[in-house]
Subunit: 431 residues, 2 copies
């Protein structure tokens, strides 16, 4: 192959030679009948172990009363017990009266917020969104597939806006939102974004808060899923969107969401949402018809375990101690396999759950399919874009949390081979 | 007062005399500054105590895997763990594939089912219910105020149908449903109904299943809230609505709901819904967009505690042992205070959470207000009817579960005085 490693500089003979040797390596992996899964941001068993002690903190002999004296076993408290509201308020940087506690899934709170908006409108709406001929959301992409699935369910038209290094392309967002009053919302994962690991800059947060929206009931859906999920001792800084909205004179513009799915247990966590008091009061009135209230005992369990921001921070450092070596191995393996090939780039996140990799245009679907045929499951190519359609077919989301370091090493090797195979096929086809 | 106790037979002088002596008793109670609450069907602390051991059954040292091997701490299982589906299937008399497990509130599952119907329609709908000019529900009344609140939230027009001794007036229901295709549903609490304590007869169940519905996507909302909540050793029998619907060739007509709110904890229970496999599959597809799944650890906790129908039945007998003396005291006190007055009648339920009392027409609101002024809180008069309007202003719902026997004794005495005062005022005004 001469002295070059960059595929783009190779001649046809070199590419064919490399292709043949990669095919051999690929065949070897295929013969191993592996079953490796990097498809979802799922905590590994060692992470779940970190919170198991929580299960012992609400026993029959313990007090089961909330701070306000109410019996957590009985009816009452449609928006959560005071101590749970307090802790989530601290996590989200808002006041306790700006918080509502939900069940185990923040996705449910997002879905239901949109469902309510469609049926009744949000605070300040002239009419239910569902009565309009078209409702549109801005979807910075790549993004979170489940956000996009909610839009699809409600027939909300999704407009793709590029993710830049410090958040969504705000020039594009501002232009869209100021001109089209059928644009009612924007999805944001503002910290360690899914999948790019990007944290929005102060300027992006400010521009989101300040921009002119033609729809007076425009809402930012601020899914702060990874707000305390750092991988380094020098975490990214995210400025507070609710404060920014208040300062900008748009106090009701944002709904914030978070959960303990990746703090304690995805299968038994606690979710919360936040917003201006006007938004929360409006929402509470509707939720009071929907439910007798969320599980208060699980809130108590979480409060007794997580205690306060300091304890939470220590707890998250233990998660990081498990996750960091996994991310490191993925990144070093990508570097050693693809670093000088000139056919792929990827981010190095300071937190969150994903590494986002871009191939040459048109290579992601083939690479993901090849990997699957060799036993390595990845998130479907395209899933990080609305309607599952990546316009450049290049984004691959890697979720390092669940597999072991050894499995990751192998999976990334397989994926790297598959990306090279797909790239060589593309390069040869173009000659 | 002569030899009569029936107010309707008294002359004006007798009524005035009685009124004065009742006023004195009323004033005495007012001076006691009592605070007694019979307003909601809320389990008492002793009942909650019965299930506290459940909190110790899922500890950090226990297995946290479901029957299918899945880790209950992690993601997965949007419709519940298999053993939870099995138990609720037995409770509702359906098969496991006809069940979905939810969060802690069956009310949420009912609300969300209607919300989805409004936005997307149900299985077999030509279009979302929300696209129709009018959607109507039949509301057998008196009934459950929270059902009616859901209809109000969604602007669903409520049509009152009388409750007879064995269920809704089926002649009226059949006539309405067969002629009006904007009638999309009927609310039913088929066993120990709220508030009348009525259990639907086999014939009523059959007629509901068999009747001709002009709307092909008509649904029965079967809130089987009190299905195992007996007060006697000879519980009422309710025939199975899903089986009846299948036999009648209308397998998709019914959604069934229940929860453990009044089996274990209202504040930390588990809810479930059931229906034909077609209904459940259709619903599951939408719920998979709404949530990462309900709390699986709490399902595990419930299964380990309730085990099977036999254990559940023993457990419910312990509830009955606490509740029965309360119901008995309410009934005996009503009998001794009002039994021969000719101005009130009430049911003697075999299960459930309520005693439903009817005054003379036009006396309920005044009586409830008088009671409140003497420190006895009852469910607002009218609450058991759609829009909070009892057309005859006579129904009062009594919830005996929470107060102590002594408090109930006092509360019923106060209520009885208030009912007599209101009745005498009415009788005198009519002379």
């Amino acid at each position: 192959m001469g002295n070059t490693t960059d595929l783009l500089n190779m001649n046809t003979e070199q590419l064919n030679e490399l292709y043949a040797s990669l095919k051999e390596r690929y065949a070897e992996f295929q013969n191993q009948n592996m079953k490796l899964d990097m498809s979802r941001g799922k905590p590994c068993p060692e992470q779940l172990e970190l919170s198991k002690a929580m299960l012992d903190l609400v026993a029959s002999s313990d007090s089961l009363r909330a701070l306000d004296g109410s019996d957590c076993l009985n009816y009452g408290g449609v928006d959560g017990i005071p101590e749970a509201k307090d802790l989530f308020a601290q996590i989200l940087g808002v006041s306790s009266s700006e918080v509502m506690i939900g069940g185990s899934s923040s996705l449910t709170m997002m879905h239901d917020t949109i469902s309510r908006a469609m049926l009744h409108g949000v605070y300040g709406s002239q009419q239910p969104w569902g009565k309009l001929p078209t409702v549109k959301f801005i979807c910075p992409s790549p993004g979170y597939d489940r956000h996009f699935a909610i839009c699809e369910l409600f027939n909300i038209e999704m407009i793709v806006v590029d993710m830049l290094h410090d958040g969504p392309d705000m020039d594009a967002v501002e232009a869209l939102v100021s001109e089209d009053d059928s644009i009612k919302g924007i999805w944001c994962v503002p910290k360690y974004s899914n999948p790019d690991g990007i944290t929005y800059s102060d300027q992006v947060v400010e521009r989101l808060a300040e921009m002119t929206a033609k729809a007076n009931d425009f809402r930012i859906f601020w899914d702060d899923a990874y707000t305390v999920h750092h991988l380094t001792d020098e975490p990214d800084h995210l400025s507070n969107i609710l404060s920014a909205c208040k300062e900008a004179g748009n106090p009701d513009r944002v709904f914030m969401f978070c959960s303990t799915s990746k703090i304690t247990f995805p299968g038994a966590g606690v979710a919360a949402m936040a917003g201006s008091v006007a938004n929360i009061n409006y929402t509470r009135k509707q939720i009071a018809v929907q439910t007798i209230g969320p599980d208060k005992i699980n809130q108590l369990r979480h409060i007794r375990f997580l205690k306060d921001l300091d304890h939470l921070s220590d707890h998250m450092a233990q998660h990081a101690a498990i996750l960091k070596p996994k991310f490191d191995r993925v990144l070093s393996k990508l570097e050693s396999e693809l670093g000088e090939r000139g056919i792929a780039s990827w981010n190095k996140p300071n937190g969150g759950y994903f590494v986002s990799l871009n191939t040459l245009d048109g290579c992601a679907t083939i690479a993901v399919k090849l990997a699957a045929d060799a036993g390595v499951t990845l998130t479907a190519a395209g899933a990080t874009f609305p309607y599952g359609r990546d316009p450049r077919d290049r984004n691959i989301r890697i979720a390092p949390s669940f597999p072991s370091v050894e499995e990751l090493e192998k999976s990334i090797e397989v994926l790297s081979i598959c990306i090279q195979l797909a790239s060589i096929e593309k390069l040869l086809a173009e000659r």
